[in-house]
Amino acid sequence: MTDLTEAKMPKNDEPLTKKERLNRNILIGCALLGGITGGAMAMVVPDLGEQPLLTLSNSEIPASAAIIFAIIWGFFLPVISIFWHRTVDEQEAHAYKEGAYYAFYFYAIAAPVWWILWRGGLVPEPNGIVIYYTTLLICGAVWVKKKYMS
């Protein structure tokens, strides 16, 4: 518990609450894990060819690397997510759910529209990774706006 006898400080210099510290540390951990994963992926992908964005590439990677990345995404990410969701307060949970709400509707609309237009020969073949990252981006943007810009 914070010592409530300490002098009241200006808003920007206020110490982080316990929840905020834990939340921040989890997010830093996720960023580090993402950075390490991205760096490792960059090393195992032999040739990017004409694809400028590594994470949008569909180029082949070694099976062993694929298993490691799949474990990171399929096991560590859910475990960290469960821990994070137990850490956040209700306002942040609400902000996150709102982000997920908008992201879901983007996915539910954009994916079939792209797919049906592709079948009609009007657009290139749907790229699942582009849809995936855009969905995450929308979720993250709404979450940050609702949490920090309200």
Partner: protein, 70 residues
């Protein structure tokens, strides 16, 4: 929803972080409630009411006046 949280906090000379510690929420949550951008859940509203030893309706105002203006 309008509320008196900022006034009540100021009366105790607490920062948003200090109030957040009491309520087990973040500063952003306190700020969002104070500015009316986020309405707390019923359990959190009760927690706030108990902390300041006031009824919920004295802290939060949903704008309903009981039809007195009608």
């Amino acid at each position: 929803m309008k509320n008196k949280l900022k006034v009540l906090r100021a009366m105790r000379d607490w920062s948003q972080a200090q109030l957040g510690e009491h309520l087990d929420v973040s500063r952003q949550a306190v700020n969002a409630i104070e500015t009316g951008k986020y309405d707390p859940s019923l359990p959190l509203a009760f927690k706030i009411a108990r902390l300041f030893d006031l009824p919920i309706e004295e802290i939060f105002d949903d704008g309903f006046n009981g039809g007195k203006d009608a």
